[in-house]
Symmetry: C2
Subunit: 192 residues, 2 copies
Amino acid sequence: MSPTFINYLQEKGTLTPEDLELIANASIAKRARKGQYLLEEGEVSDFLGFVVKGAFRLFRIGDDRQEHVMRFAIEDWWISDFTSFMSGLPSHCYIEALEDSEMIRFSKKSWEELLAASPNFKRIIDALTTRNFEAHQNRIFSNISDPAEVRYEKFVQQYPTLYNRIPLYMIASFLGLTRETLSRVRRQAVTK
Amino acid sequence: MSPTFINYLQEKGTLTPEDLELIANASIAKRARKGQYLLEEGEVSDFLGFVVKGAFRLFRIGDDRQEHVMRFAIEDWWISDFTSFMSGLPSHCYIEALEDSEMIRFSKKSWEELLAASPNFKRIIDALTTRNFEAHQNRIFSNISDPAEVRYEKFVQQYPTLYNRIPLYMIASFLGLTRETLSRVRRQAVTK
DNA sequence: CGATTCTTTGAAAACAGTCAATCTGTGTGG
DNA sequence: CCACACAGATTGACTGTTTTCAAAGAATCG
């Protein structure tokens, strides 16, 4: 199993050799080329992926027929349409590799078996789920309370590793802005 | 235990008389007067509440020193700052009763014991958690992709029981608009 | 009825979006 | 090594939307 993943897991909690064995057996390594789609609208998101290397975006097409980025994922992040993964219903989302990437994948079945078999692993995942919930709350709060400039500043602060790696027009989309507006917002921020 | 709550639970899943007994023992009924605060910024949200009667709002103060509504709850909804409840850390939120209300409350301790003791109840809660996650995703998506008018229309469609019961300025706040803008958006919608 | 709270309206200013053009950097093939 | 193509970023002029501030109208409650 990838050392990146093992390091990650051991930072997040305590796992026995048996836990690691169970995790290794439940997962498969996968590669994706830049530009490749791992999920398209209408399909069921039947996997949960941990990013070992590379970058992904999860986006949805709006009523305006535009792509809107819901989430990014780089090394040490998880990626999936969790909603579709949980429900087993078709997804509204696309997942695209933004770079040549490597991930560790869990099918729904093996994921559920793993959580049942390894309480230690489950504890780690529950903690992540809580933090993820908090992140969503904060994003909603920022969306309804902060002007564009502040949203951008907070994004840079929160994800310093993303902002020099992801095209700005995708960041704009994530923030709910056009590329042009983000460009102008950035200029303001520099000159003052 | 309140018949509202029992009906709600039995609609959501199957529970044995023993489950209901456990639930009854884990909870306490509480009343709140209109205007009363159940949680203020800096306190730990040490309870999880099911609304039997009445209405609540959960809001946060933004950098602009304004109140921003994160969530409403009326009959058959749950209310808490889940983030603070889960983490045990001080909350950034306020919870205010918008009407004279009744709720059923679980302390963190009894909540965790209940989930461990009743797998049937846990199943119900897990399903709710999933739906809640999905609702958050949709709200974020709407925030970044829909113009004000569409956000309002979707809100009315999704929560028809809320919009003639909650003051419009709070709905505006929930949607990330000023009261004036919502007022104008509504007039547009009527005349066209 | 009077007080309070909520909603609407108007006019001006700030902000964000659109469209079209230009600029910058990167990588490819001749 | 250069020229070109391409993707991404920026700029300008214009339009449209949202906020702000101030005032006036409803609605509700004691």
